[in-house]
């Protein structure tokens, strides 16, 4: 299947890097991938989103007007993107920040208080990874093994010491009921 993923939230929540990690891991899995960020003033505090496609066959359009996997880290993004999820698609929501579930009954949603869990772990920046954990568990968008390799490839070396904790965060997301 073709994974068409939209990730959206506030600038600074690690939305773009979460997408970047998916693309990198997808590539390491041997799939075709694309990563398309929203760019411009959004980068400096407004809303941020990116489109990621992971596919066995060459990616047709990297620009998504609809998706089957949606990761949401703020309420305006849920309002904006919920209607773009295809029937049977999945939505992962950071419920520490977003105070509602999806309004539709033809898509699956998972509410995880990712930012709160990350705070308890001592680093709010892990929230995006916790949400990705759930996505990977439910949809096998990328493999866990190559996700770890992607962390090493994407993060600058001075952050490599954080990777064991990032993997722990991923596992918390995967196991969250």
């Amino acid at each position: 299947m073709v994974h068409e993923v939209i990730l959206a939230g506030f600038g600074g929540q690690g939305i773009l890097s979460a997408g970047r990690l998916l693309a990198e891991a997808g590539m390491l899995d041997g799939n075709h991938v694309s990563w398309l960020p929203s760019y411009g003033p959004e980068m400096r505090g407004g809303t941020a989103n990116c489109n990621v496609v992971v596919s066995k066959t060459p990616v047709d359009s990297p620009v998504l007007n609809s998706c089957n996997e949606l990761v949401i880290m703020n309420k305006p993004s849920l309002d904006k993107f919920e209607t773009m999820v295809e029937k049977g698609g999945i939505v992962i929501i950071d419920s520490s920040i977003v105070d509602r579930d999806v309004k539709r009954d033809d898509i699956n949603s998972f509410l995880i208080p990712a930012t709160n869990i990350a705070s308890e772990m001592g680093n709010m920046a892990f929230a995006n990874i916790i949400l990705l954990g759930k996505l990977i568990k439910e949809r096998q968008t990328v493999s866990v093994e190559n996700f770890e390799k992607a962390l090493y490839a994407v993060l600058s070396e001075r952050k490599h010491h954080l990777i064991p904790q990032e993997m722990e965060a991923l596992k918390i997301g995967m196991d969250y009921k």
């Binding site: 398309l36 047709d60 359009s61």
Partner: protein, 356 residues
């Protein structure tokens, strides 16, 4: 093929240029192509090259003119409002027949417009944005891999024909990441640039790089020579892709829009509609002959652009009334949506295919 990397389009352009032997880059900051400058600023000094941030777009293109006059492989990059400022230099470079590569990562206009992707510089790029009867080769990649390959190719074309080869992308292509597979060795063509102004060392006649000829007879001759060169290019250098040759309806699109078109083709297939893609890779020269290859079977054409319909005029000229042409365009940084294009396809199908 060699190394595979997940790269931003803008970075792929810069890396491709360096691999093609471009060691001189002059530019001025503008969104959404700044990563090209950042990459060049970081990499060029390490390979013995020159990165210079100019005081203006106007100065940058004139630095390119000077550098190119000495026979170097040289590049500048910008986005729409910046490319407008460069038109003076582009015209001089055309008149003086200097090779140079210019990248335009198009954003929406007119005026300061926005920073979101557009294809509204088609007229400016293909029909001559500056003064005088001149052309530039315009290449329109539609993936990060192609940004790499066509940038390398642009340097060969610029040298081969002593003119500007432009890479015309858009904000999305520049910003997005895809996997690039690099060749172990680039197909670099080498030309003996005897015309270059590098100092005659008292061993040959003076070389002069100029575009001024106040004698109209001389200037007409110079123009005729240019036109002859353009005729040869039109004959030899048209590039295009035809996808699903036997289709009933063809979408004509380039760049990122061609990618969206490909997913529409899949959607249409599910609904039993046979749609193909005709993708010009060279916007100038425009690949007229590509239309002849599909015209017998095709019932109609749908041009899709991120503009008000600029390439549309060339599509109509190529078809010359032989088949109906429809248009779907978005402007201002909006990107055509698959569903909207599909709707147009359905209408065209009902009109021209269904009852045939």
């Amino acid at each position: 093929m060699g190394q595979k990397l997940l790269m931003k389009g803008n970075e792929a352009i810069a890396e491709a240029a360096i691999r093609a032997g471009c060691l001189h880059y002059f530019g001025y900051p503008i969104t959404p192509q700044t990563e090209i400058s950042h990459y060049m600023a970081k990499k060029l000094p390490k390979v013995g090259g020159v990165f210079l941030q100019a005081e203006s777009e106007v100065a940058a293109i004139n630095m390119v003119y000077g550098s190119g006059s000495t026979g170097t492989r040289v590049m500048t990059s910008s986005s729409s409002p910046g490319i407008s400022l460069k038109q003076e230099g582009l015209s001089y470079i055309a008149g003086s027949q200097i090779p140079a590569v210019v990248v335009n990562i198009v954003r929406s206009g007119p005026g300061l417009g926005g920073i979101q992707p557009a294809q509204s510089d088609y007229f400016q790029s293909c029909k001559g944005g500056g003064h005088g009867d001149y052309r530039q080769i315009v290449l329109a990649p539609s993936s990060v891999q192609e940004l790499y390959e066509l940038t390398v190719e642009a340097f060969n074309l610029a040298d081969r024909y002593r003119m500007v080869a432009m890479i015309m992308g858009d904000g999305n292509l520049g910003q997005m990441m895809e996997v690039v597979e690099f060749r172990n060795e680039e197909p670099i063509e080498h030309y003996d640039k005897q015309w270059a102004t590098v100092g005659h060392e008292n061993s040959r006649e003076q070389n002069v790089v100029t575009s001024i000829h106040l004698n109209p007879a001389v200037l007409e001759k110079m123009n005729l020579d240019l036109q002859e060169k353009y005729r040869v290019i039109k004959e030899k250098e048209c590039r295009y892709e035809i996808y699903n040759q036997d289709a009933d309806i063809f979408i004509v699109a380039y760049g990122i829009v061609a990618r969206i078109a490909k997913s529409v083709i899949e959607m249409a297939k599910d609904k039993g509609i046979n749609v193909g893609l005709l993708r010009p890779i060279t916007l100038w020269p425009f690949p007229d002959q590509a239309f002849d290859q599909v015209i017998d079977k095709a019932k109609a054409f749908l041009t899709v652009e991120m503009s008000s319909g600029q390439m549309l005029e060339d599509v109509k000229l190529a078809l010359n009334g032989r088949k109906p042409v429809y248009f779907h365009g978005r402007m201002g940084g909006m990107v055509p949506a698959r569903d909207d294009i599909m709707k147009e396809i359905r209408n065209i199908y009902n009109l021209h295919v269904k009852n045939d």
